[in-house]
């Protein structure tokens, strides 16, 4: 099954939802609107012929300075045709909410929690949207491009006295 077949079928079923089509190195990437995400995903999963039954990954991206700032990338896989499809959904900075796919693919649960934890993208109707990688009391979302990396000055012989004077060494 080639990309064109898939594209034609999706376009026929959802004429107005695809906002951008990108095909590079044989991979098909579609940007779709947030509102239609759930419907498109369900249609792809349940389609009798396409059978995109496996949600390979859910990833969040921060494009600082672009509108929409955030993007969630989904990779779907069809075991039947050994074919991969990439869908992207944008979410603006003021309202970084994307519908959760946990109802369709249970595997989305932890991956959406990761995107929420590291980038602050919220997933509506997620059963337990909590931090998964960072400690629970962490403030902020560390993979956002406007968060500092947290660099600490490296101690060498010439500056170690100054650095060690402030370093919180452990007591007994």
């Amino acid at each position: 099954m080639d990309n064109q077949t898939v594209l034609v079928q999706i376009q026929a079923a959802f004429p107005a939802t695809i906002t951008e089509i990108d095909e590079r190195h044989g991979d098909l990437k579609l940007r779709i609107s947030r509102e239609s995400l759930l419907a498109v995903m369900q249609w792809l999963r349940d389609h009798a012929e396409l059978q995109y039954t496996f949600l390979e990954s859910v990833t969040g991206v921060d494009y600082l300075g672009r509108d929409p700032r955030f993007e969630v990338v989904y990779h779907l896989f069809s075991f039947r045709h050994f074919h991969r499809l990439c869908l992207k959904v944008g979410a603006p900075e003021a309202d970084p909410v994307v519908p959760s796919l946990t109802g369709l693919f249970p595997t989305a649960n932890w991956q959406e929690r990761e995107a929420y934890d590291l980038l602050g993208i919220e997933f509506s109707d997620h059963p337990a949207l909590q931090r998964i990688l960072m400690p629970d009391d962490w403030i902020g979302h560390p993979l956002r491009k406007d968060v500092p990396l947290g660099y600490e000055e490296v101690a060498f012989t010439f500056n170690q006295d100054r650095i060690y004077a402030h370093k919180p060494f452990a007591k007994e």
Binding site: L133, M134, P135, P142, V147, P148, L149, G150, Y151, E152, V154, A155, K167, P168, F169, A170, K171, E172
Partner: protein, 180 residues
Amino acid sequence: MGLEEKAGDLGFVTTTLETVVNWGRTNAMWPLTFGLACCAIEMMGAQSSNYDLSRFGMEINRPSPRQADLLIVSGRLSRKMAPVVRRLYDQMSDPKWVIAMGDCASCGGVYNNYAIVQGVDEIVPVDVYVAGCPPRPEALIDGIMRLHAKVMQEKIGGKAHTHEEQIVVEHKDTGLIQVT
């Protein structure tokens, strides 16, 4: 075999209590079963048959911190894991020692960022730092030998860890000075 042969027919041996106690501690120093990252693989290598840490009385890794004497922090320590490591250290009974194994545990290594503790000495008091990414098993064993040398100098009744006491080793061939 053993002491009887070496000592001949001497009826008794004299030594100091300190030496005997410290000798006992160095020769049955059991590490905690505990690994954090890639360095832990080298630690396992040091304990398995090729390098055979049991030559130094360390063949048993204790799964319970109550029975362990030595905490080998092998690998990078994330900030989420840090309270757990401190808790394990607190649960160990005195006397106890800590080795920071590898660059990550010693100073953060290549991970100078928000997620990694920049040196486990912020969390637990470290006795010996072993450099390397990862340190070879020989390097870890060398660190353990240095720790043994440090323990042999400890005083009974004194605090187990004193950071004032330093062992300075100068490598004649390389000119490096190592302070532990």
